[in-house]
Symmetry: C3
């Protein structure tokens, strides 16, 4: 056993508790007193641990996004996609630490801390002024976990929104422009819609129930994360335009994925991460709730995979792997709003509808010449919207009773998606005017890896 | 902190407990009352959490199987292998939800619920009729975890059996046939042998101890999962025949793996998943048991890797990576029956014997012209059988005392393997008669990716 | 639910507790009595579970090392690198079981068990002589976890030291020589420096505080694991020499990585594993400590990634993916010593400095013709040293108070690095004399995969 004293890294704060010797009881109201409280401390510890493990699971989704996006694109743009993903997860978490976390959870609007629509953020606190503040932030006073766990779990979420856009604009976006766009989107725009529902007293959170007959339910973010990212992506793609040579006068030219094993690795890792994404959104390790969320999440993903396999087989006349993979993701996105409110069998149905929908949606966007190399708009935007609405349809099997309203669900998902679309459009359009959003023709043709990064992804 | 009321997704059931205000104590005998019980609730929560995390770990084994199988096969069949794996995990879990779970755990044979050999299944319940049923399924009344945790953990196991077959029949099996075969195998056949041992009162579970001097011990499924899959695979391969051009009049032609990095990723992910596969099979987070299982599992895997490295070096005169990788898997399969009954040092030995055995077995099957592209029959079938027998030899170091009988272990593993072999042979043979089991010569030569899926795995 | 009696794998020991029927209370002082103790048992169970999950997370770092090293090297040496990694994790854990664990944690020097500098090791115990010894090793008497958890967590750490060297000597080292070197390094040398700090009464552990004004702080091993591995690597590279054709009379020839997706997979998996590496080093699931360590660890990694991206952009005039990836690793290595002692915002700074440093260091070693294909000396050696020193600079924000001394930190990291360098140099030099350390020119040119292993990593 390593020496325990190595770990006394909170020594000064512990002084009050330990100065008079080990047998001295910890000061009343302190963290140490709470941790000596027996069963409550044990329960808090397991709840907190689950949030941390969930944060780690959501972290690995960033590897999932990196590999699924690069796998579905062309070989010559692989370095560029990986680079963007590395940058986004770094800047996303740092921006969230510097501003977003406090903008998204600004306090309690009913207590007058903010207006329910928008709050200024600010940096994560660095430490605690006194023992009482520390205890208020690191024990059951705060919730089922410490403020640090809360932050790191939410920070891992935050970066996903910009990552979703990354896939849709791949293979032709200008790197520096995208870096600025992603930074602003994840730091300043994502927390606004987030606060509407997850901030205490956000307008969707409070107004909904009174006005439209039911509180808005978006358990882990079908709208707040996925539809947000998907509709931000749609706006960016409209400003950006399709890849050169994709839609020609002679028809649409399919651009094949460069590595389906890489894409499959990505989808399975995203699926794994979703156990933390949805499971951690229970915000405790409550056995009944977390275990039901595991069942609904997984079964929706499996339902989505199967439905996409058979739908694409019928429509495209062949068993299509990338549709099967996107179908699993679609099912997962679809259940994200209702993982806690929908019964296990209904979750299979919600996932299956999402899986069928994603096939139709991918073909539709290709038909109207909206070029999305990885299907992000369909998977996250359309299925995120579907999942939010599905709560209004299926979330009434005695689980949420009369509190659910289809109207509220529709208003909620439309508000969030519209805000994401408009903000993203405005931001990306301004960047287009100021610095340009596309690489030039030669760079696009040569591939961004060599043109922008001076290095191919693969060598012999 | 996100609003906690978001999480009240069991509101109607909670009404009884909360209708009179927050300070009202929960109704006696309710889930809420149990969760307010202090230390028991905390222990239940950590036990349940471990089963859920284990389910997530077993899930990622499906990515492990996908990558190890595709990595060890030819480039031209990669999409096909990945597609089969996506399909299997989806249909396997859904079939288990619709039928298998209740067929495998049909109740208590000693209470007359079933006959100990075979039980009809049925769908997973969707909710609970009343508060008492709910409590019986979601608290310590049920076990160390909720019924939902039980289901999702076992569902992740179920699909592995069919996945094992997938690797052995790769590169020449007809996709539609295999999809029907896998669906039937995992949904209807796997739960039968499963119930023999893991169902309460299954014949191996009860008869063994009385008749053959010791209860059958198959901790996490060396026989029930791995030998089952391995011998089902052997039957399928015998019906199917070898890949064209593998065994010619001029001798056996080695067919090289197309991506050893992909295979290595797969093996390490399988190893990671095994911590959940074996560790979760403790069915609680009991510190002594789970920690010992971690040690025996890991050390058997490492022992297997080393033994296979040196055995293949001696036999093949070169340090063979794919043998080293399969050796780790062999060690893990080998310890799966006895992870809880074998001492740490004996587990190294059991793993090492498995690692040596897998090299010999792979060469043997190649010699008798049983063509198994990934070595699944050897890794899972032969080493699964070995692991089960090993409990009868090494499981007596004061851990299980007089309860272990080599005879019972042999009878058990032979029964399960024989049932898997015969069922699989019959099923695959019927499918051969009805719809054919092989792709035609041209498709096999061209590769299944383009021929069946219309899409290569890699493009430049 | 699987039959619980399956799990009674400690039946004989339980006999004392259960012989008189289930209702009999467990024997006083037994493991069973402890586990029936309510809240203490629940807390112990969650603490122990976290150490085990951390062990699994550290395990997956070995896949991270395997893929990042092979991805950053040439295609023709991929099998060789993967093979070395499989071998190292197997032999590393087995050597640690046979000798290292007991050499690294030899007891208590203040109680006269050893001298504080060096202790003979010996095999991990296989079982317990009696109930009292068992209880002493598997309950809170031992710590926050069982002896088995302690062993498996530390065993997963041990192999990393040799793995670090593996990357630096890649593409030209003789396989058999390296296997002997790695075995000796990880089994006999790594535990020596480890015991200096993590062994109770190790000289750095005790002398430091008295002599140099502060106890040596190396939380999870910036020096004991990373600088150890990095400086062992530097010595090995000096003995070995650069790859042929790298430094020519016409200047330095860049040798490009063969697969950046593989490298990216590796870095993200290492990042994931670091949550266990640092988080598990809290040695409990203490909510405040573990959650702060998650925050400092992740934010240092993100800070390192960003700093390396911008530093390399300025210096190399292009956005370099492999520098961004190595920057994340550098930040993680940098925070490993101080994850528990440095504030969240200071951890961003420590990581960012590490990220900038790694770019400069990689260029510096290339300039002085020290050929390190993956940058291991810079990432682990230089940034490990920096991280240890950073605790002396930043670890004073009221977290460790007056106990931290910059002098002690510098003396500590220099001692450990120097010992690693000298031992590794001596060992590798002797092996060079005895059996040679390099493959011959033709093998190096042809690639080690075909030359040493008779098998390419990829086929078409």
């Amino acid at each position: 056993m390593r020496m325990l004293k190595k770990l006394m890294f909170l020594a000064p704060l512990l002084l009050t508790a330990t100065a008079f010797g080990q047998d001295e009881p910890p000061a009343e109201g302190s963290y140490e007193a709470f941790m000596a409280s027996g069963a409550d401390a044990a329960m808090f510890t397991v709840n907190n641990l689950w949030i941390l493990i969930s944060a780690a699971l959501v972290f690995i989704m960033h590897l999932g996004f990196s590999t699924v996006e690069s796998g579905l694109c062309q070989k010559k743009n692989t370095v560029n996609i990986l680079f963007k993903n590395v940058f986004i997860v770094c800047i996303g978490a740092l921006g969230y630490m510097a501003y977003g976390f406090n903008a998204m959870y600004p306090g309690d609007a009913t207590a007058g801390d903010w207006n329910g629509f928008f709050a200024m953020g600010g940096p994560l606190m660095n430490g605690f002024a006194d023992e009482a503040t520390r205890t208020a932030n690191t024990t059951a006073e705060y919730g089922n976990y410490t403020v640090w766990s809360d932050f790191i779990f939410q920070a891992m979420f935050a970066a996903t929104a910009a990552t979703i856009v990354s896939g849709a604009v791949a293979e032709r976006v200008k790197l520096s422009t995208f870096m600025i766009y992603a930074t602003l989107l994840v730091t300043f725009i994502y927390p606004i819609t987030g606060s509407w529902e997850w901030g205490v007293g956000g307008w969707l959170n409070t107004v909904g129930g009174e006005k439209f007959g039911g509180e808005f339910v978006d358990f882990a973010g079908s709208s707040l994360v996925h539809a947000f990212g998907g509709f931000a992506a749609l706006a960016a793609v409209l400003v950006l335009g399709p890849r050169r040579g994709k839609y020609t006068s002679e028809g649409t030219k399919p651009i094949l994925p460069h590595s389906l094993p890489l894409a499959a690795i990505g989808v399975f890792l995203l699926f794994l991460g979703w156990f933390g994404f949805n499971g951690g959104s229970v915000l405790s390790a409550d056995p009944e709730r977390v275990s039901r969320v595991f069942v609904t999440t997984a079964m929706a993903g499996f339902g989505g995979g199967l439905a996409a396999i058979f739908t694409s087989w019928i429509v495209l006349k062949k068993p299509d792997l990338s549709m099967g993979l996107n179908g699993m993701l679609a099912g997962l996105v679809g259940i994200t709003a209702g993982a806690g409110a929908i019964s296990p069998w209904a979750s299979v149905l919600v996932g299956a509808i999402a899986g069928a929908l994603v096939v139709v949606s991918v073909l539709f966007f290709d038909k109207i010449k909206v070029d999305d190399p990885v299907g992000a708009i369909s998977v996250h935007g359309i299925c995120g919207m579907w999942g939010t609405i599905a709560v209004g349809i299926f979330g009434q099997d005695g689980l949420n009773g009369g509190e659910i309203s289809l109207t509220t669900q529709i208003i909620g998902t439309l508000s969030i998606s519209a805000f994401a679309f408009v903000s993203s459009f405005a931001l990306f359009f301004i960047l287009k005017m100021v610095m340009g959003v596309r690489v030039d023709e030669q760079e696009e043709s040569e591939g961004l890896d060599v043109a922008e990064h001076g290095s191919p992804a693969y060598t012999d």
